[in-house]
Amino acid sequence: MLKIKELTVAYTSTPVFSDLSVAFSPGKITGIIGPNGAGKSTLIKGALGLIRRTGESFVDNQPVRRVRRKIAYVEQRAALDLTFPISVFEVVLTGTYGKLGLFKSPGQTERNDVMKALEQVNLTEFRNRQIGELSGGQLQRVFVARAIVQQADVVILDEPFVGIDMKSEEEIMHVLRDWRAAGKTIIVVHHDLNKVANYFDDLLIMNHGIVAHGPVSDVYNKVNIQQAFSADLSAVLFTETEDVS
């Protein structure tokens, strides 16, 4: 359970959003959607304390900064240096660093956890490749594997499905559903409106603030999409005769 209380973030004098409060339930996959610049990634970075903000966020009623190990954050792929001399295995291994703490080195237990995670995302044969050699989908699966190894209660993924192949997308959704079954809180910042109803249980629609929040079937409708995005888009998505999908 992740609770965000009265979060305000401003990069310039105009805030991206103010006093935003929202709670994400465990055992559910919540999607966050909204137009570009709506504040989706900003919400996450603010909640995690990665950027300047006012307001506080809590995991199981404890402030995030005290229980960081309970959160796994899978950031946008574009932010990373893919020329770095590190292999797939080593990237996933860094997921164990939080648990190990300052002066312990990863041992056999950690290495086994990494192998298991790699199997879950079908990357075992790639484990010794340098990460720059991978496709977008393979790379995303590496970071999902890292999140598996972190064994956190809350997992947040920032636009994981941008530019990846169908198979990778399916494999990642498979992992998310396993996590859901295990009772984790899963949050996905989604970059478009594809498959919203298929992937998510709950939906948070944002446009410089919350437009709507709740179960997909309640919230994903013509009115809300029009409010967050535009009338045209809403019309295209929600014609009278077509199903919402």
Binding site: L48, L50, R68, I71, L80, D81, F84, I86, S87
Partner: protein, 284 residues
């Protein structure tokens, strides 16, 4: 070649040459190690900045008669803090902040040194003079090398994750600021030690060139760090040999050798692909 034999014989014979070789090799190793992290973190300009910023510290150390390492390190750290402050608290980009701070420090240092010392000593500081390494300098250098190696071994995974994915490191609770400033402090120590062999102006070359060369040959961080330090040591040895045989200034000779090794690697390495591409065309 007989001149290599002569060099080796001279090594056995002259104490100053032995000290010069030991000091250069040690500095080559420590520069290669820290330089690897510097280039992976995209901090080459920062490396140059810290090396220039220690000049006022050296001047103050001379004037107050305190240990050079302490005076210089103090200013190196102050510069790093100042750069960090300016970068985070203004809209200026990082390289602007770095440029302003380090050139100001360097100018200040120049003025102070001219007041405290004559110009030859400034020449030493700017370009190094490994032929004048004292026994005490030698021991100080190996202690710094030991500190560098211990730092890397103790904090290997922290350095790895903050160099590769700092955001991730923050999310699992690692105090990335401490790692950064820890690295800056060690960088300052390495810089001050390298004053002896290559001087302030060329330190950045020893930090960057062997590490960049190593990067061209491997995809594994540990290999890169070890290779960089070996290349640093190799360049130092060959540079000193050239300095002895051709009566060249030793610091610049070392840097030139490092650059040539890089050039050769740039052309030949499989990672870079020039030769393999050429060969591919031939086979087509």
């Amino acid at each position: 070649m007989t001149s290599i034999g002569e060099f080796i014989a001279a090594l056995g014979h002259y104490n100053f040459l032995q000290s010069a070789l030991l000091a250069s090799v040690m500095v080559g190793i420590m520069s290669g190690i820290i330089g690897s992290y510097i280039i992976l973190r995209g901090m080459s300009l920062m490396g140059d900045a810290i090396s220039h910023s220690v000049l006022p510290g050296v001047a103050v150390a001379y004037m107050l008669g305190i240990n050079l390492l302490i005076g210089a390190s103090a200013f190196g750290v102050i510069a790093a803090l100042l750069i960090g402050f300016v970068a985070t608290n203004s809209k200026l980009k990082n390289d602007t902040a770095i440029g302003i701070v380090f050139s100001a420090f360097f100018a200040l240092g120049f003025i102070l040194i001219s007041m405290a010392e004559s110009s030859t000593n400034l020449h030493h500081i700017l370009f190094g003079n490994v032929l004048a390494v004292s026994d005490r300098d030698l021991i100080t250098t190996i202690i710094v090398l030991a500190i560098v190696i211990l730092f890397i071994v103790l904090f290997f995974k922290e350095l790895l994750i903050t160099s590769f994915d700092e955001t991730f490191a923050k999310t699992y609770g690692l105090k990335t600021g401490y790692v950064h400033y820890g690295l800056m402090i060690v960088l300052t120590l390495v810089t001050v030690s390298a004053l002896q062999t290559v001087g302030i102006i060329l330190i950045v070359a020893m930090l960057i060139t062997p590490a960049a060369t190593a990067f061209l040959w491997t995809n594994r961080l540990t290999t890169m760090v070890v290779l960089a330090s070996a290349l640093g040591a190799l360049a130092s040895t060959i540079g000193l040999y050239l300095s002895y045989t051709l009566n060249w200034a030793s610091g610049p000779a070392i840097v030139l050798v490092a650059a040539l090794i890089f050039l050769g690697s740039f052309i030949v390495s499989p990672k870079q692909g020039f030769v393999t591409k050429l060969m591919g065309v031939k086979n087509a």
